[in-house]
Each structure stands twice: as C-alpha cells, then as structure tokens.
Symmetry: C2
Subunit: 286 residues, 2 copies
Amino acid sequence: MYFKARYETLKKTWDDHYFECLGKTSLSKAPADFKDAVYYSLQAGGKRLRPVICLEMSEIYGVEFEAAIKLATALECLHTYSLIHDDLPSMDNDDLRRGMPTSHKKFGEDVAILAGDALQSLSFELVASARGGDHLTEYFAYMVGCAGLIGGQYMDIKTTDDHASDYMEEMHRKKTGYLLALSMVLPFIYQKPDISYVEIEKWGINLGVLFQIVDDILDHTSSKEKLGKSTGKDMAQNKLTYVKIYGIEKSKIMAGLLSESLKNFSQFNTSPFFQNLPLYVLNRES
Amino acid sequence: MYFKARYETLKKTWDDHYFECLGKTSLSKAPADFKDAVYYSLQAGGKRLRPVICLEMSEIYGVEFEAAIKLATALECLHTYSLIHDDLPSMDNDDLRRGMPTSHKKFGEDVAILAGDALQSLSFELVASARGGDHLTEYFAYMVGCAGLIGGQYMDIKTTDDHASDYMEEMHRKKTGYLLALSMVLPFIYQKPDISYVEIEKWGINLGVLFQIVDDILDHTSSKEKLGKSTGKDMAQNKLTYVKIYGIEKSKIMAGLLSESLKNFSQFNTSPFFQNLPLYVLNRES
C-alpha cells in the first residue's frame, strides 16, 4: 500500500513539473511542429519508472528539487529517444507504443529519427544544466553510449541463433539495466561525488535484468491491449529472450529469485520504496 | 601559402591524435564490429574543417593540448553522426559520402542509425572529459539540438515551395553555421568563460552560411568524382538552395561579398589563419 501511493506521488510530482522544466531548455526554441513531434512521444505516458526512481533517490540523498527534476527529465528524454529509434522500421518495426501510434507512424521516419536525435541532445542539456559537474555528464554519456545502452541495442539487432545466455544477459544488462542503474546513480553521484556508487549501480543493473525477464514473459502471456504495444513479436523476430532460452516456467522462477535477492540489499534496509520496487517490477502487468 | 601549410599542419595534428583520444573513451569498450562501423565513418576522411578550426582557436586562446584534441574530436564525432543520419534512406538517401559507400549502404540502416546515436553520445563524453564545466556542455547541447543543428535538419526535410529566402537562411545558419560557430566558440568558452563570445559566434555562423552557398554552387557545377558525393541531388529533391532562389551567378557574387566581409573581422586582424579561412571556404572544390 505504501509503495503504490509513494510511486504515484513521485510520478505525479514529475508529471506536474517536467513540462515547465522542458520550457526552460532549447526545446522551447525548436520549430513549432518539430516541438509537437518531440512532445508527442514524451507525453505518451508510460510508467515513468526512471524519473520516479531518480526522484526517490534524490530525496534520500538530498538532491535539491530543481536539479532532481532536471535529472529525472533527462532520463525520460533519453529513454524516449531510445524507444523512438528502437521502433523504427529498420529496427524493431513497431507501430504501437504506449497504446499510441509510434513516432514514425505518426510523423514519418525522417521526423522520428530527428526527434530521437533531439531528445538525446536535450537529455545532455538537462544533465549539464543541473550543474552536477563534468564527471556526472561523462558518466551519463558512458552509460547511454556504445559501451552501454546503444551497445546493448547493437547486440540486440545482431543476435543470431548461435548466441546464448551469456550474450543475452550482457545485452539486457546494457539495453535495459544501464539506464535503470543511471536513474539510481545519477542523483547519488550528484550529491556524493566522492563515495563509491558501485554497489548501487550493480543493484540498478540487476533491477533492469529483472525488468527484462518480466518483459520477455509478458510478451508471451499478455495482450496488446494491456501492454500498449505489440506482443508475440520477440518470437516472430527470433529475438533472444529468457523465455526462448529457459522457457516460461523457469523464467518466472528466475525472476522471483532475482526479485527476492534485490529486496534484501542491505543499503536499502531503511528504504521501503526500494525494498518494494523489485516486487513491483516483478508483478507489473504492463 | 601560409594558410595552406597551416591548415595541413593542424589537420595532421588532429589526424595523428584522434585515434588515441578515442581509445580513452567508451568507444574502446563497444562490441568489436560496432566499433568498426563507428570508425568506418570517422576514418572516411574529409576536410576536417571543424577540428582544424577548433585546434587553431585553441592555440590562439591557450587551451591546453589534450583538452583541445578532445574538443576537436567531439566536433568531428558530432559532425559525422549528423552526416550518417542525414544520408539515411528516409532522409537524403545518399549512397556515397567522402567517396565511399555511406554507413547504411555498408552496414545496413539499423547499424547506421545506432552508429550515429553512439557518435552523438561520444561527442558529449568527449566534451565532458575535457573538463570545461557544465556551461560548456550545455552550450554544446544547445547548438547541436532542436534549436540548433537538428532544428536546421528538420527545417530542411520540411522545405516546401512556399518557403523562401528567410526560411532558407535560418535553415542554413542552423544546419551548417551552428556547428562551425561551435568549433570557434567551444575553445573560446573553455578558456575565457567570462568574456562574451557573441561576435565570434556570429562570425562562425556566417562562415557556415558561406560554406553552404558554396555547397549549393558545387552541387550544380562539380562532379561526383571531385566532391566524393552525389551531385545535382538538391535540384532533383527540390531542395531550397541559394542557386534555386538566386541563380548561380548571383549566388557566386553573394559568396564573394560574404567572404570579403568575414575577412575584415577586426577580432582576427592578428590571425592570418582566420583572415584567410573565408577565402579557403569560398574557393574550395570539394
């Protein structure tokens, strides 16, 4: 009960502030219809998991509110750009995202590519404007670049039948885990630049792996209506998934065990939010 | 004579150091064949105009060498990403760039999109690693984002016959001018964060406009062999160009006048390099 209410409060806080936050960036000076295309994907909704995590971490570690909103918005911009490009015809070729037509379906492929590009630079503009120092931006760039999120996307499109569990795990760690870890670590480094973030980063990456196992399960068991995106596509596109390698039952067991071990992370034994977050990720239906 | 030798010296300095510089970034940890795809576009050559300008500015204003190379490499990474995405089938659909197959022709559209994405985050990683402060990164993001370079690209793909000279000039200022201005201003802000960069930025943007007028002329008068890219495409794609609006002769006169006025910029009256740069841009054949 506490967790759900807290999650909703954090989500509402971000929902109430991100628009104003973006109004102070260069997005306000974009060509008018281009701005619409960028906002279209940002406003499509979703769980807002990354901003929510970032805001909770910011409160725990004492990041001032304005900076926290900027970091949270940077994470959502980055996430949205990765979804727009991931949905493109030459990538996953998805027509539906968060229950709405994908960016390229709505605005054309060329605009979708540019909207994604703009959201990436916007995320860096926001991180820099939070004034956390160059090391923060450098870390952000590392986590979302060719050794991080984009490296994971590359592994995803280059999957072959020869690839197995190790490859898949590295791919999911990078593709999903690095950005969730970033949502944890960004406010942490911002406030505690001299303290090691390694354990928290590891926890965040594993939360991403859990997220991905559940994603793979939902792609098999849920419906388009519930998920707001196409289902059954992983199998159709012969993607490397937990379900493909381990089957549904074993994947569910793995997810349960991972969720349990994340819950017991000692660093969060005074944080009911982070103690309950793995269970939320495990039991989500969309 | 001085100018050509100086240009070649600066170009060689960058050529000799960018590989080592990139080796210290996250690119060294990218999946091996993805790294190859990223390097393919970076190594394809070209004038290296942006690194050259950045290195000369860095020397004039006293930026230490290692930081100067990082900034120069960030600019070339950003430029290369914009070319890769600009060449995509849904954008300009170009098969040839710098005399070689474009990224998507060589590696496929999906890899080309990701290579561009990775080069953008890499450019931010490099800027941040130069340790010029958050305001430097924020400025960089502004100039390449939706109110800058990407905004210009958007205006380009949305050109209609109703658009005229004002629209075209703004488009070229953003698409080409902002990145050349960035090459001037980045080392300047790095070293002189408290001094106004407005005049230098204006000069850089106008240099970009000059570059673009010449580009439009060359697209009509040069050959694929000389340019290393397809020619005559602007007309075929009904692009808004100086030649289309003003005709070849008037475009040549405008370029000559702009080059002359840039030469006389008082702030550069002790810099033979920047005094001669407009003439180089005016008379280039590729």
